[in-house]
């Protein structure tokens, strides 16, 4: 098993009725439950505020940010365990964010063999 992060982007600005929100939440809960039951969920991870500060370069220039397009801002992350990248990608297809215009970026965590 290898470890991966899922980076969730977008899917946060679609106008939603109370029922749609409710269904979204239930789908996320069901998806995480299934990942957990199959031993693929290492950590739920965390949601992220959309705006913070960016510190850059030797001069340590501080700007408000990231202020990218809403769809490009990482809204949260989780830690996943899967056989390989293809498996992790396959598991990500169940993520409910895909149904509301969002995306999941699947990134392998670098393995350090000591």
């Amino acid at each position: 098993m290898s470890e991966f992060t899922y980076l969730y982007r977008g899917g946060r600005d679609t106008p939603q009725s109370p029922e749609q929100r409710q269904r979204q939440l239930q789908k996320w809960a069901a998806w995480f439950k299934e990942l957990g039951a199959n031993g693929n969920l290492k950590e739920l991870g965390h949601p992220l505020e959309s705006a913070g500060m960016v510190v850059k370069g030797n001069q340590k220039i501080i700007t408000d940010g990231p202020y990218a397009e809403a769809k490009d801002v990482v809204g949260g992350f989780s830690l996943i365990e899967a056989d390989d990248l293809a498996h992790a990608v396959e598991l990500s297809k169940g993520c409910p964010i895909l149904e509301v215009g969002g995306s999941v970026e699947v990134r392998p965590i670098m393995q350090i063999n000591m």
């Binding site: 969730y8 946060r12 939603q16 109370p18 029922e19 929100r21 409710q22 979204q24 939440l25 239930q26 996320w28 809960a29 995480f32 739920l44 991870g45 965390h46 949601p47 809204g75 949260g76 989780s78 409910p96």
Partner: protein, 136 residues
């Protein structure tokens, strides 16, 4: 949350009513806005972290804090406008005016030190160390 438990639908009316009681009917639009914002935030946080033990309290606290934030910003904006309009405020009083102005100065000091009227920080109502300093 059980499937079929319509939390958001149920809470929406209840929260708007409660917020309107707290902030007044003239802030109805504000109440509706902060309830919507709280729902958006709930979805973002709960989808990953799961639904908290008391979702109703979570939603209400989030909406109320947002409303307080908006109202505080409005108050500061209003105060700045009033200050900008009245050009007399920051001139130095002539010695003859001192006694006439003293009650207003006392009032400002009282509000600042004892009632915690302090734009940026509203963590504690009474600022004990400042009271001691002010009275000492």
């Amino acid at each position: 949350m059980e499937p079929g438990d319509h939390l958001f639908r149920r809470e929406s009316g209840r929260m708007i009513a409660a917020l309107t009681r707290i902030f007044g009917v003239h802030n109805l639009a504000l109440a509706e806005d902060v309830v919507q914002d709280a729902f958006c935030r709930a979805l973002e946080v709960w989808r990953i972290r799961g639904i908290p033990e008391n979702p109703s309290a979570w939603l209400m606290a989030t909406a109320k804090n947002a409303a307080l934030d908006v109202l505080r910003r409005q108050r500061i904006t209003r105060a700045k406008k009033v200050l900008a309009r009245s050009k007399r405020l920051f001139d130095t009083a002539a010695p003859a005016d001192f006694s006439a102005r003293l009650p207003a100065v006392h009032r400002a000091l009282y509000l600042l030190f004892n009632e915690g009227y302090h734009g940026a920080s509203s963590e504690t109502a009474v600022r004990a160390e400042l009271c001691r300093e002010g009275c000492g």
